[in-house]
């Protein structure tokens, strides 16, 4: 035990600093909903300011005493940075999540670049100890006074913050503001000022942790501090990104376990990587294991998804592709001395494209793409050198190995999305690097890593291999373009805009998520293998495998608005080719800091502007559009649907409880085929909850739902949809970045693809024509053919309603649940709408259950009406019976005047009557 104590004490100290930084992170996240990925860079700024004020003898040379330097770097620089961050965060509040992540990453890259410029000559600065280094004895172990001071400082700060949070009005406001910023304004405390204070305090904590951490590790470099500080993300994860005390405890756990791992790693080889990997492992494990409800994006106003890239007419794209490939084929002629650079650039292009499939098409976030490349490179190297696999097979194996790892990463993707998926993948990439890169499992034990890797026998020379890479680029680009235009591409875009809509249309979104991760990782693995074969050696320092590169790749994929595969080309040029030429031009030895600075600043600037990302200018698009040939969807006859038979939808004794609130209480209801059944009642009566229970979005507390005489209560949302239950939402749930036609078509296609992996990628022959035919028919029924090519996000509320109706009409649904479909429609549209419903009920025998507030519509259209109030059925009957019912009238208008207790009834005559109006 006594030999462990020094390590435990050291762990307490670094853990307390992690805890301090983690708390700073948590309070800003809690109040603003923005996860501060740039936090490590802010810590680095404070540490550098301290260094300049206290030690520097070259630039500033003031050498203030350390308390003064700490005061300035923490208590002045910290709050100033906090104010700046609050401004940025406010700008990002209504921006799509991937752009938020890019903005924060851009900020971090920019700061690191700027710091790198300051200290170009030394990447690492000595950061001597400024606290007293003498020791005292604690149960037989020498403890440094500096250690005690650091621990007490960090611990006291967090404790004070906790007390502040619990017992002061501003602290309570900080805890509450994220729940409901509007209500905060209505209580007389400005939500913006609450959030500003939170950023000031949080960033000051981060600044303090930067200075303290540098003092613990005795050295300072923007880069190493960056990764150490990401450790505090692990602490924040243990606190579930919300609890301050748990975050501090999480920091201590990470610090102590990590410190002990350092001790044990002397004896046990595989423990080596645990200490640096620990925070990231924690991050990953927590995000996989935590209750999903704790990690929802609870922004009240959902941002619009990012605009889709522009895809020109195929003729234009084909000609451009031929020109570009021709140009690339000529590179060995005009740039023979830079051939390696161009070859490397093309491999980067493949990696960028692999990430683009995941990010651009399906809207998911991944920050570990270089990890997949590393797995591919290593799999290639081992399979060739140890197993003697030939080159093509080894390439294939590399892809498959990376795809297998991709499946592991798909697990968090199923559970979490947005910023938490970004964190989980970041954690995965960093854990992989720290845990496996150095242990010999991946790159062997030799310092040189894995060397003497082969090139293929048919392309051993540099030029021949360059052309091999070019061939890979062409094939992979073509495959990705095919995916974009195929069923999988359409499903992915639906997944990106609204997984909920895709799921309720009958697609099992999780299998789609798994597929896309596997394909993306496969391609990244190929890129890694190509890199290994090209350079014939890989090791743990190989830049292509560095987790840091993943961040840059992600930013490029998000920021460059170009279509597949052009953004890949932009990435290759931006990351590799252009910098090398520029460095040559200006004779710079190290261009990286400049690049990093430029890249970071532009990423931040572009992300804040949301949809104005660099892409093709409008006039060029207009020019290209002249070459588009109309691919008219021919007059496909839509096969008559078989009339459904059976009992339709039956709800029996349905009870749904949320916490203390009973939303639905023992409801019985029957919606048969070939009939329009109404479900009406005052606001809050439980109508939408009943719908959600029918489509599987909420689990009933008691009772159940059956469809076609089959109990469907235990079935998933997508399975119920495939059985034939389709629905719309109270607030139209559409794929906003897609066209009207694409939305309606996907209504038909999502249930066809279902859960089947093959069917999601390869539709059966003729399916496309069938889908297009059904979609055209449905748009005609809903009267929105003239809108077919408009982007849904630009439509009015009424038009969106009709698109949602057309989508559910296109799908193979026999029973439709329509939730307030007429709200937002004008009088004429409402009449048309009712006519469409009557028609499909007559022609197709569809059953409809409709929740509606427009009583006239309900009375005129419904064959049978159920009336709910307080979660119970209070009346059922024909429309005429409902209209005549006194109970229904009372439910809507309130009961007759009753005596108000505690005073005389305040009749109209009691108050001052004031003349109003004319």
């Amino acid at each position: 035990m006594s030999d462990l104590l020094p390590f435990i004490i050291a762990g307490f100290v670094s853990g307390a600093i992690y805890g301090l930084a983690g708390t700073g992170l948590v309070i800003t996240y809690k109040t603003s909903g923005i996860f501060n990925f740039a936090q490590p860079a802010l810590a680095a700024i404070a540490a550098y300011v301290f260094y300049f004020l206290h030690y520097d003898t070259v630039y500033v040379n003031v050498q203030w005493p350390w308390p003064v330097a700490v005061f300035v770097s923490v208590l002045i620089v910290g709050p100033l940075l906090g104010l700046l961050m609050e401004r940025i965060a406010r700008n990002l509040a209504l921006v799509a999540t991937p752009l938020q992540v890019v903005a924060m990453i851009g900020l971090a890259l920019g700061v690191i670049g700027a710091l790198g410029l300051f200290y170009r000559n030394q990447t690492t600065v000595q950061f001597p100890q400024f606290l007293p280094t003498s020791t005292f004895s604690l149960v037989g172990t020498n403890v440094g006074w500096d250690q005690l001071i650091l621990f007490l400082l960090a611990g006291t700060s967090v404790a004070l913050l906790y007390v502040f949070f619990r017992s002061t009005r501003l602290g309570m406001a900080m805890r509450a503001v994220v729940d409901n910023p509007e209500l905060m304004d209505l209580t007389g405390t400005s939500a913006v000022s609450v959030s500003r204070w939170a950023w000031i305090i949080g960033t000051t904590f981060v600044a303090a942790s930067g200075v303290l951490l540098s003092a613990v590790i005795f050295s300072l470099s923007g880069f190493s501090l960056f990764f150490l500080m990401i450790g505090s993300f692990g602490a924040a994860a243990i606190g579930a990104f919300s609890s301050l005390p748990l975050t501090f405890v999480g920091g201590l756990v990470v610090g102590i376990v990590g410190s002990l791992a350092t001790k044990w790693s002397v004896d046990i080889d595989w423990v080596v990587g645990i200490q640096p990997a620990l925070p990231f492992l924690v991050l990953l494990v927590v995000l996989i294991g935590i209750k999903r409800s704790k990690l929802v994006d609870n922004r009240v106003v959902r941002p619009r998804p990012m605009a889709r890239s522009y895809y020109g007419p195929w003729k234009v794209r084909l000609v451009s592709a031929i020109l570009v490939v021709g140009f690339l084929a000529l590179v060995p002629q005009f740039a023979a001395d830079k051939l390696t650079l161009w070859g490397t650039g093309l491999i980067y292009m493949i990696l960028v494209l692999s990430l683009g499939l995941l990010v651009k098409e399906s809207g998911q976030v991944s920050l570990c793409q270089t990890g997949f490349a590393a797995v591919g490179g290593v799999a290639f190297a081992h399979s060739v050198t140890s197993w003697g696999l030939n080159w093509p097979l080894a390439m294939l194996f590399a892809g498959v190995a990376a795809a297998a790892v991709g499946l592991i990463v798909a697990v968090p993707a199923i559970r979490v999305s947005g910023v938490f998926l970004a964190l989980a993948t970041l954690g995965f990439g960093l854990a992989l690097q720290n845990l496996f890169y150095p242990t010999g499992l991946m790159f062997g034990r030799s310092y040189d890593g894995l060397a003497h890797l082969p090139r293929p026998s048919f392309a051993d020379g540099d030029t021949a291999f360059y052309y091999t890479i070019l061939a890979f680029v062409v094939v992979i680009s073509a495959a990705l373009v095919a995916i974009h235009h195929g069923r999988l591409g359409r499903l992915l875009r639906g997944l990106g805009d609204s997984p909920l809509a895709l799921n309720t249309m009958g697609n099992s979104v999780n299998s789609t998520r798994v597929i896309v991760f596997a394909i993306s990782a496969f391609i990244a693995g190929i890129a890694g293998a190509l890199y290994a074969s090209y350079f014939q050696a890989i090791g743990l320092e190989t830049p292509f495998f560095a987790p840091f590169l993943s961040l840059q790749l992600f930013a490029i994929v998000i920021l460059v608005a170009a279509a597949t595969p052009w953004y890949g080309l932009a990435g290759a040029i931006g990351l590799q080719i252009a910098p090398a030429y520029i460095a040559d031009w200006f004779n710079l030895s190290n261009i990286q800091p400049y690049l990093s600075l430029l890249f970071g600043v532009s990423a931040l600037a572009i992300a804040i502007q949301a949809d104005r990302r660099p892409g093709l200018p409008q006039w060029i698009r207009d020019f290209f559009e002249r070459f588009r040939t109309e691919t008219s969807v021919g007059e496909t006859s839509v096969a008559a649907r078989p009339r459904p038979e059976g009992a339709g939808l039956e709800v029996r004794g349905l009870t749904v409880r949320f916490g203390g609130i009973v939303a639905v209480d023992g409801l019985d209801l029957h919606a048969p085929f070939g009939r329009i059944t109404g479900l009406i009642g005052p606001n809050g009566a439980g109508k939408t909850t009943t719908f959600n229970a029918c489509s599987g979005l909420v689990r009933p507390t008691a009772g159940g739902v059956s469809y076609l005489d089959r109990d469907v209560s235990g079935l998933s949302v997508a399975t119920r949809a495939r059985l034939g239950i389709g629905r719309t939402f109270q607030r139209a749930e559409l794929w906003d970045s897609l066209s009207v036609r694409a939305n309606v078509e996907l209504g038909r296609e999502a249930p066809l693809s279902g859960v089947n992996l093959v069917a999601q990628i390869l539709p059966r022959p003729g399916a496309r024509t069938e889908v297009q035919g059904e979609a055209t028919e449905a748009m005609r029924l809903a009267g929105i053919e003239h809108l077919a090519d408009r982007e849904v996000g630009d439509l009015s509320a009424g038009q969106r309603r009709l698109v949602e109706l057309a989508r559910v009409l296109a799908g193979p649904f026999d029973l439709l649940l329509l939730d307030e479909p007429s709200s937002g429609l004008d009088k004429v549209e409402t009449e048309q709408f009712a006519a469409v419903l009557r028609r499909i009920v007559g022609e197709r025998g569809t059953g409809i259950l409709i929740v509606e507030h427009d009583m006239q519509l309900v009375m005129g259209m419904c064959d049978y009406v159920y009336v709910m109030d307080f979660g119970r059925k209070i009346f059922e009957g024909t429309a005429t019976e409902v209209a005549a019912s006194e109970e229904v009238r009372q439910a809507y208008l309130g009961s007759e005047p009753v005596a108000v207790g505690g005073g005389a009834p305040a009749g109209p005559g009691d108050s001052t009557t004031v003349p109003v109006g004319e």
Partner: protein, 232 residues
């Protein structure tokens, strides 16, 4: 006391309200009625400053407050109880009441709230999100009491509550009125609203279609309006 002058506006490019004018005189109760989606909540949001009108003005207590932040309007004595449960679910009952009260009156505010809704005292340490629907609504209403506003805007306070609780809520509203507060009431229980209010505005598709003393409002006219018939 509170006056909306020719308010036009909505969310983004969508126009919800068209030329809405409305007056709440001192110590009076005004009901704002109309079918779903007519613009009742939007009218209240314009009044409290959560939304800014595209044209028109909001006058409160003699001052033009059209460009005054909603938090400042609260400090001037305007209290808006929005639709839904107006509480902070992750804070305890007591902490909610601290935030609801004017600065410096936090301790008294709690006692006052308990004097009106005694159940809040028993639940003081419980997180507001775990209270029953009725208790949450009482906590939300307590804000109207402890912040002592001059004008109170109430949006569907009885929504989704059982009749017994609705009685309690109207008891409460009656009490604050007798203590001198002015009230602008949006309420689905028309009969009860009419009983409390001295004058009524009826809004339909973003426009005021009727205004007058509450005794002139016929329930049949309202039911017809709610059922979609045009009002003459």
């Amino acid at each position: 006391m509170l006056e909306l002058k020719s308010i036009t506006g909505g969310y983004g490019d969508t126009t919800v309200l068209r030329d809405v004018s409305l007056t709440v005189p001192p110590s009076s109760v005004v009901a704002l009625l109309g079918p779903n989606g007519a613009g009742k909540s939007t009218t209240l949001r314009m009044a409290s400053g959560l939304l800014r009108p595209r044209s028109g003005a909001v006058v409160f207590d003699g001052d033009d407050v059209t460009s005054v932040h909603s938090a400042d309007r609260v400090r001037r004595g305007l209290c808006h109880l929005p639709e839904g449960r107006g509480v902070f679910p992750s804070l305890s009952v007591r902490e909610n009441l601290v935030l609801f009260s004017p600065k410096g009156r936090e301790a008294e505010a709690f006692d006052e709230a308990v004097s009106v809704f005694s159940v809040l005292g028993a639940r003081r340490r419980q997180a507001a999100g775990t209270l029953s629907g009725g208790e949450q609504q009482m906590l939300a209403l307590a804000r109207a009491y402890v912040s002592r506003p001059k004008v109170l805007l109430v949006d569907e306070a009885s929504l989704g509550l059982a009749p017994l609780l609705v009685d309690q809520i109207f008891d409460f509203l009656d009490r604050v009125v007798r203590e001198g507060m002015s009230l602008l009431l949006v309420e689905q229980y028309v009969a009860r609203a009419l009983q409390l209010a001295s004058s009524v505005y009826v809004i339909h598709k973003g426009e005021i279609v009727f205004s007058g003393p509450s005794r002139d409002v016929a329930e049949d006219m309202l039911f017809a309006l709610y059922a979609g018939e045009p009002v003459g």
